[in-house]
Symmetry: C2
């Protein structure tokens, strides 16, 4: 018995294609620097661990579909710190940003609708769009990964356009959309009648300025903005699945809740684990942001020493995009795992073709996740550099 | 801005329609017996609480998409106790049975496919089918809520039929499918080429016999059986979201994993909380099952004393279906909350029309969840009885 066609057609992620090679390398005793996954090595806020210590005292009953009242209050306090006043009915708790995106795409789009997305973008948006039966319409970021020009977005709007999906700051490029950028894109959304789905998972992780402004703070966008959120990155708790959806559009929130009812509720333990930390997220988050800044700087500096490599210091998030002097970055990433080691070490990179919807783009790019200390990252980039030198001389 | 059509069309559950009335009754000081939700008041296994006490020591990193190896091993040990040998690649961890159903329907069915479902069935199957873009084709259960006759199932098979979705034991009727029932339905599935999606959430909760047999234990059904599982009911941990998918069909499992990758992983804390209890689930579960048997007996006995009420003692799960002497059970349920109290008490019932796909069926039926001790349940049924007497004399 075969799976469904839509089940078979769903693409495997490039990382998944590389995992068997990584496992094989580990069996050979090679140490792998995992630059491929956005999972930092930092400790969570003390409040998260304190809450987990008390978790066994909780009644393990279904939470309300929207979330536990105490956790909704904590999200409200958190948004208030970021200058956004929300009513409890304007927020719901989700199992991470992934679930929030799944719920949001289905709730604002019908099958066959178009969703504009600045590229490169977080690669799983492709699969999430496929599951929602919507088409991603890419809009190139500007020079130096700047926010896309409004005219470039406007040129792609059709009657089927239902949403603009952006992440702010952007994974993988670190692009930060400022108030003016959001206001200009928001004005277009209002004029042409589409939603702005803003994935603000990396909100605070901005290196030379204040946190990225929320789409919820843009005047006039009340009916159009739907914010996707997650604490995974700002609290270094990827293993908890804790996110949120926030919108002032009551019809959208009602539909989101009807859809979310089908999964009944989100884990009460995960919810309670983050409530205290959410309501008082600084100065923990400030420390984390400073550390990510140092790490990205170290990676950018190490990459700058490699011949033929171009890279861009990101303004936010914690990834560095590098253009490598290779024709096919996925093949090089596979070669690094399968055929290369420097003193028993190699590195796992994320090839970036899947971060684009435009065929052919990004084939020579990789994403480096700055998830270790600066010295380890510097060494990892040196390993990549040695790999590039050896690869150029190989028959590949 | 309106939500999508599919977002607006998704039906609200009948319970959700009743919640505002329940909240209003509570504001008036009325005590509500919540017979409407399958959330027992029993304590979880000690192993769950012990594991939660240690949760703050865990690294809160993404689990593998399939689940933590230790938890997959615990599921294997659990299935082995139930006579089913599974490889680690034949199981994946899910966020409860709800996520397992969502993933399974999309992975075995394409849009527009038919799914046969014995009715009455767990009402959220309707919304889950809508999200998967499949059509539920109801097959009536036999007399006394017996498993459906194979001929009745066969008569509804068409070229669009991709699956039979059954819950064993069945929520809401407690119907238990024995080995012969599963073998006969399985033979039809193999002959006509459709999957058997077996929701075995209530597996052990069978009152006068061994646990319900798993579809994974039916010879010849290796390629066709996909089992949906959850620990919510057997461990009284509805607040954790912990379930599983198990199938020996490798293509289906590969497609399930590609789909599950989009949500990255399931909470590590919830996963670790259940591992120990899963690997040694008895005698805890035996105690729980005995208690549910006493509760269902108490409810059936109390209902038998009410004039004009028909009910059926369930063979498993922990619900009792009652036919009431009213034309519209939803209207009666609303009246109980909005217009009735006996000594300051009333009851919240689940009207059953939404448990049927056939229009008009179940309109005089309610589901009673036996989730309190026998004395409380007996009192709650007496309150319902007093309500019925008053309702008959009212102008409704």
């Amino acid at each position: 018995m075969r799976a469904s066609r839509r089940g078979e057609d769903l693409p495997a992620s490039p990382i998944r294609r590389l995992i068997p090679l990584a496992e094989e390398a580990k069996r050979r005793g090679v140490r792998i620097h995992h630059l491929n996954i956005g999972q930092p090595d930092l400790d969570p806020p003390p409040g998260v661990l304190a809450a987990l210590r008390e978790a066994h005292r909780e009644r393990l009953a279904y939470a309300p579909t929207r979330g536990l009242p105490a956790v909704l209050d904590a999200w409200r306090a958190y948004y208030r710190e970021h200058g956004v006043e929300l009513a409890a009915e304007e927020i719901m708790v989700t199992a991470g940003a992934s679930e929030a995106l799944t719920l949001a795409l289905r709730t604002v789009c019908d099958a066959g609708d178009d969703v504009l997305v600045p590229e490169p973008f977080y690669a799983p948006y492709k699969g999430l769009a496929a599951v929602a039966d919507v088409r991603l319409v890419p809009v190139p970021l500007g020079p130096g990964f700047a926010p896309p020009a409004v005219a470039d977005v406007a040129a792609r709007v059709t009657p089927r356009t239902r949403a603009l999906l952006l992440s702010n700051p952007n994974n993988p490029t670190g692009t930060v959309y400022g108030r003016d950028d959001l206001a200009a894109l928001g004005a277009l959304a209002v004029e042409r009648g589409f939603f702005v789905l803003a994935d603000e998972t990396y909100r605070e992780i901005v290196f030379d300025g204040p946190p990225a402004p929320s789409a919820l703070a843009v005047p006039g966008l009340e009916e159009h903005a739907v914010v996707i959120d997650s604490v995974s990155k700002r609290f270094n708790v990827c293993g908890l699945r804790m996110g949120a959806l926030a919108t002032r559009n009551r019809e959208v929130m009602e539909a989101l809740l009807r859809l979310a009812e089908l999964r009944l509720a989100v884990s009460v333990v995960d919810q309670l684990a983050i409530a205290g930390a959410l309501a008082a997220s600084r100065p923990y988050v400030d420390t984390v942001v400073a550390e990510f800044g140092r790490r990205c700087d170290a990676v950018a500096a190490a990459l700058a020493r490699l011949p033929g490599v171009e890279c861009h210091r990101p303004a936010g998030a914690f990834y560095v995009v590098a253009r490598l002097p290779v024709a096919d970055a996925e093949r090089f990433a596979a070669w690094l795992l399968g055929d290369f080691a420097l003193d028993g070490e190699t590195a796992m990179l994320t090839p970036m073709a899947d971060f684009y919807a435009t065929p052919g783009r990004g084939r020579d790019e990789v994403r480096i996740a700055c998830v270790f200390d600066a010295a380890t990252l510097t060494r990892a980039v040196e390993v990549v550099g040695a790999g590039l030198a050896a690869y150029a001389g190989s028959t590949n």
